[in-house]
Amino acid sequence: MNPTSVLPIVEKYNNRRGSLISILEEIQSQYGYLPSEALQVVADRTGRSLVDIYGVATFYKAFRLKPRGKHLICTCLGTACHVRGGPSIAQEFEGQLGIKRTGETTPDKEFTLETVMCLGACALGPIVVADGHYFPNVTTSQVKTIIGRTREGLDKIEVQKDKRIFPVEVACPRCNHTLMDPDHLVDGHPSIRVTVSFGEEHGWLRLSSLYGSYTIETGSEIPMGTIAHFFCPHCHAELIGASNCMACEAPMVPMIVQGGAIVQICSRRGCRSHMLDLDATAVT
């Protein structure tokens, strides 16, 4: 790590009394842990001694002095989980991952194993939390499955199965010509084809027609953060609405959804802002 990157964090607090925990929290949110060099910088800048800062960093469980793995598996060893076999679950995790339960991380930086002294969900014990997902009534035979599913990613949304994601069919708000391209599939559904221009570049862009999916295909790569102009490939009118993105202030791009609604997407590459207005009938 570069020690100078910690300086703005320390200087922001202007050496106020009681700001040490906030400084450490901010450093940890930047690096994921508290590097020793960063603690030294904090000590030098605040004029406190390193041993005091180290004492605070080791006192609070929320602070880590070692980097954590990609996935965090936490076994409850509270009283209820303990009597229902929590320790043998923790032992099984230790055996399968080859690390100790005291916050150790696998050498491939994939898993960190921790224990907790009660999650308040005693009726579900023995309970295991993996990346914020709760697994109730765990048996030792389930440990392997939990590790496997965590490795794949528990937050991954399956586009095909998720009910929040549904296909829409859209048309140009000027000429009402459909924008769907049934011959070219994105996410397994017909794609939405528009032409785009940004800077000196002109090209085509295919959007996934699944509402909630951000998959796109482009002829030429649009740099992140660029605001692109969207055009209908049929009437060549610019698809631009009156409203701006709530998140990044870029103009929103309106498209008419078959069945009478307007979907608007943000024209900035990388911004995921979008909205579906079921009451709107005309582009304002």
Partner: protein, 225 residues
């Protein structure tokens, strides 16, 4: 001056002093492991408990952190106080059975049993070494870390601290640890001028002005000549 009664003897002491200071000055013995004159009071060992107040409202307080009050009634050796001290000593003997200071105190207080598992620790977490390091040696090299039963004293990251001058003040003041002068391993050691005919502080420039607790010691005197 504040008037109070210690063991029913009316005494008057200066405002701002603690019960322990007052009692020790007037000759009432109160045992303590974590209080040393010149270091800030900390109240860690609890051996200096005394009973203040009357009857049912009396309570046990640590005398090293309790400032004297007008009309206070203090008992330094009531049955309740002695019982509490014996229990504290028995617990300390459980964690650090090898400390001579604790053994002597336990013997003086007639602790004749050992009901707790002996753990052979070398620390009672009194914090004397950290206060010595900070307040007297001005080094601020060691301090508390961790918490609960993982609480320990040491340097940051448990590696040699740049601020530590190896003065040995922490070892000198410790009531529990059995660390002896390790002059045969000069890198880890305090000076050891007392036991060593050619102490490392003679040969190495980095031992100059280290404010060793031995000062004035043999080695320093030789060096000056």
């Amino acid at each position: 001056m504040i008037k109070l009664k210690i063991n029913a003897v009316p005494v008057s002491v200066e405002e701002g002093s603690t019960i322990l200071e007052a009692a020790q000055f007037l000759g009432f013995p109160i045992p303590t492991l974590c209080h040393v004159e010149g270091l800030s009071p900390y109240g860690a060992c609890r051996l200096c408990v005394v009973e203040v107040g009357e009857g049912a409202r009396s309570k046990l307080v640590s005398s090293c952190t309790y400032p004297v009050e007008e009309g206070l009634r203090v008992r330094t050796a009531s049955a309740r106080v002695v019982r509490a001290r014996k229990m504290i000593l028995e617990l300390m003997l459980g964690s650090c059975p090898q400390s001579k200071i604790i053994q002597d105190l336990a013997s003086a207080y007639e602790v004749r049993q050992q009901r707790f598992k002996q753990e052979y620790e070398t620390c009672i977490l009194c914090g004397l070494c950290a206060r010595m390091c900070t307040e007297q040696m001005m080094a601020h090299a060691i301090g508390f870390q961790g918490r609960g039963d993982h609480r320990t004293l040491g340097t940051p990251f448990n590696i040699k601290s740049e601020k530590c001058r190896l003065c040995g003040g922490c070892i000198y003041i410790c009531p529990a640890c059995q660390l002896r002068c390790t002059y045969t391993q000069p890198e880890k050691a305090i000076c050891g001028g007392c036991a060593n005919l050619s102490p490392p502080c003679l040969e190495k420039p980095n031992f100059d002005d280290m404010m060793c607790y031995m000062s004035p010691c043999v080695a320093c005197e030789i060096k000056k000549d």
